[in-house]
């Protein structure tokens, strides 16, 4: 696969997110500023409930900030419609989740095909592309297996292949190694760093994994919805 030709940059300024829980307002983000250059490997760490996932969801356009400005690939996502946001997400951003979130009714090949098909690729072309991606993540022999027939590490590899299906500029990963044993986690980390270095895809990863923190080109620590620490290599 060739290097991906898109900016993959992210600029966020003063991001705030307030949830209404019952009658109580809970601030998940309290003014987050973030600048990520294309091709960076960014890690965001922090305790559970610190706002990592909320930040990733906002950066990925699957949630909206209560306040603040956000642009991804130089597209301002703050004021665009829900349908436009969905299309932007479909065309530019890949997601990896802690619990994989594969569609249980589909086999690995079909799971990886879905984003391409959502983007408009034909069924045949999407499956051909999915087969190539599964081969790249070392699962060509598991194409016909459903998520229930795969190990955690294998499911996460399928999820990475799925995230790659649309040739994204940015991949957002929420605790991608959180549910894996050490060997599987190391394998997933290697796969992600390889994709970052080989294809230039921007990665933003929310994690507790210290190994990932050490590999990051930039790392941030979130506490109560604010960055308390940042380091850049």
């Amino acid at each position: 696969m060739s290097k991906i030709e898109c900016a993959g940059s992210i600029e966020a300024a003063g991001l705030e997110k307030v949830y209404l829980r019952g009658s109580e307002h809970v601030a998940a983000l309290n003014g987050v500023d973030l600048k990520v250059n294309a091709g960076e490997f960014v890690v965001i760490s922090g305790h559970s409930g610190s706002g990592k996932s909320t930040l990733l969801h906002i950066l990925g356009g699957i949630d909206r900030p209560t306040k603040g400005e956000l642009s991804v690939n130089q597209v301002n996502l703050t004021g665009i419609s829900e349908a436009a946001l969905t299309r932007f997400r479909r065309d530019n951003i890949g997601f990896i989740f802690q619990f994989y979130n594969l569609l249980p009714s589909l086999n690995a090949l079909d799971n990886v095909s879905m984003p391409s098909m959502a983007k408009g690729l034909s069924w045949k072309a999407a499956r051909e592309r999915a087969a190539v991606l599964l081969e790249q993540v070392g699962l060509s022999h598991r194409q016909k297996h459903t998520p229930g027939q795969l190990s955690g590490g294998e499911q996460q590899r399928v999820a990475i292949a799925r995230a790659m299906a649309i040739e994204p500029c940015v991949i957002l990963a929420d605790e991608p190694t959180g549910d894996l044993d050490t060997a599987s986690a190391n394998s997933i980390v290697s796969l992600m760093t390889d994709l970052n270095q080989r294809l230039g895809i921007t990665f933003i990863i929310a994690t507790h994994n210290l190994h990932l923190v050490r590999l990051a080109s930039s790392s941030y620590e979130l506490l109560d919805g604010r960055f308390t620490q940042a380091s850049r290599k």
């Binding site: 969905t86 299309r87 879905m114 098909m117 069924w123």
Partner: protein
């Protein structure tokens, strides 16, 4: 193949037991609706008079049931004398209802000439009962029994053979007709006859003649005079209650199909909440998701409707052939009218659509946080 179409098929087949359960739960609702609608329709048709008769009837004033009536020939002679210019003929009729081979049936015996010419009975098949131990039966009786021409039934210890099938112009009762002579021979003459028929001239005003007869002391001392159709109404005293019941049932059936479909659809989609959110994250717009969910629900609803309709049809057919319902010898005929079936289908699809529409809103508002669960 379209991505969502492909996913729909895979999703339905992957979890085939859950799909089957959804189809079954929807089919139960469809069956409830169709059977209630069929019953409601049968009630509406029950006791309807296709063609009102202008004959008058005289019945013992003290008889609650026509079978208990006991009249003598003098009362018919009196009637003929009261309005000779407006009355063409009078004739007696024996009337019983008996349990014959598990069916409550009416037995009527009138002179053959009156049966043919004055009671608006039309012969549909076979022959009139001319000899001994012969009878004709109404098509209403055929609907509640498995009898046909040639069938022999034991009545009062004697075997009678069906020689023909007739249709009466009024209420469709399950009735046996035999000649008056045969009736007298079978039941005896000690109770006289039960109903006296008065055939009016075409120019006569039935209500006016009825009032004249009723006012005459030779009649009102012992009998009551009715329009021919009044007996059917009196006999079907439950008719009005059945009509009311049919309206309640129609309403219940509509509620069953609407809320039942809606709930089954919503339940099925709520179970799919996680997958729906995931598809949304993968780039399927809410409009596309609604199309997908509606397609999915449409497949399930149509499958369920087909199953439900087939079960209802099979039940009604079986019931009509083997255990027909009759109330006081009047058959209650169940059927699946096309209008009810079509209305049920439209309501099922509409409320499945509503279930999809109302489910997708809350799911999208839940946001992706649900994916962490």
């Amino acid at each position: 193949m379209d991505a969502l179409g492909y996913f729909t098929v895979r999703d339905l087949l992957h979890d085939r037991w859950r799909s089957l359960l959804t189809i079954i739960s929807l089919a139960v609702v469809v069956v409830s609706y169709l059977l209630l609608a069929a019953l409601s329709q049968a009630y509406l048709s029950f006791g309807n008079h296709a063609e009102p008769s202008t004959n008058l009837m005289i019945i013992d004033a003290n008889a609650l049931d026509p079978m208990e009536s006991s009249l003598q020939a003098s009362i018919l002679q009196a009637a003929a004398q009261i309005a000779p210019d407006q009355i063409l003929a009078t004739f007696p009729s024996l009337f019983r209802h008996l349990d014959i081979q598990g069916h409550i049936l009416q037995i009527r015996a009138v002179p053959l000439e009156d049966m043919q010419n004055r009671l608006s009975l039309s012969l549909l098949q076979g022959n009139w009962p001319v000899g001994g131990q012969q009878m004709v039966v109404t098509d209403g009786l055929i609907q509640v029994t498995s009898w046909k021409i040639g069938t022999v039934a034991n009545i009062y210890g004697e075997d009678f053979q069906v020689t023909g099938i007739v249709r009466s112009s009024g209420s469709q009762f399950a009735s046996i007709w035999m000649t008056y002579a045969e009736g007298l021979r079978l039941f005896g003459s000690t109770k006289g006859f039960q109903i006296g028929y008065v055939q009016l001239a075409p120019s006569a005003n039935p209500e006016e003649v009825r009032a004249r007869l009723q006012a005459d002391p030779r009649i009102n001392a012992q009998a009551a005079v009715y329009l021919d159709t009044t007996l059917a109404d009196r006999y079907n005293q439950v008719n009005q209650n059945l009509l009311n019941l049919s309206l309640v049932q129609a309403l219940i059936s509509l509620l069953a199909i609407t809320f039942g479909t809606y709930n089954a659809t919503r339940l099925s989609l709520t179970e799919r909440g996680h997958e729906i959110l995931l598809l949304h994250v993968l780039g399927f717009t809410q409009a596309k998701l609604r199309t997908f969910l509606f397609t999915r629900s449409l497949v399930l609803t149509l499958a369920a409707y087909l199953v439900g309709w087939s079960i209802s049809w099979a039940f009604i057919t079986y019931q009509g052939m083997h255990a027909p319902i009759s109330i006081q010898a009047a058959p209650l005929i169940l059927s699946l009218p096309p209008a009810s079936s079509l209305l049920g289908l439209l309501l099922s699809v509409s409320f499945a659509f509503l279930g999809v529409w109302l489910t997708t809103g809350p799911l999208s508002r839940r946001g992706l946080s649900a994916l962490r669960d």
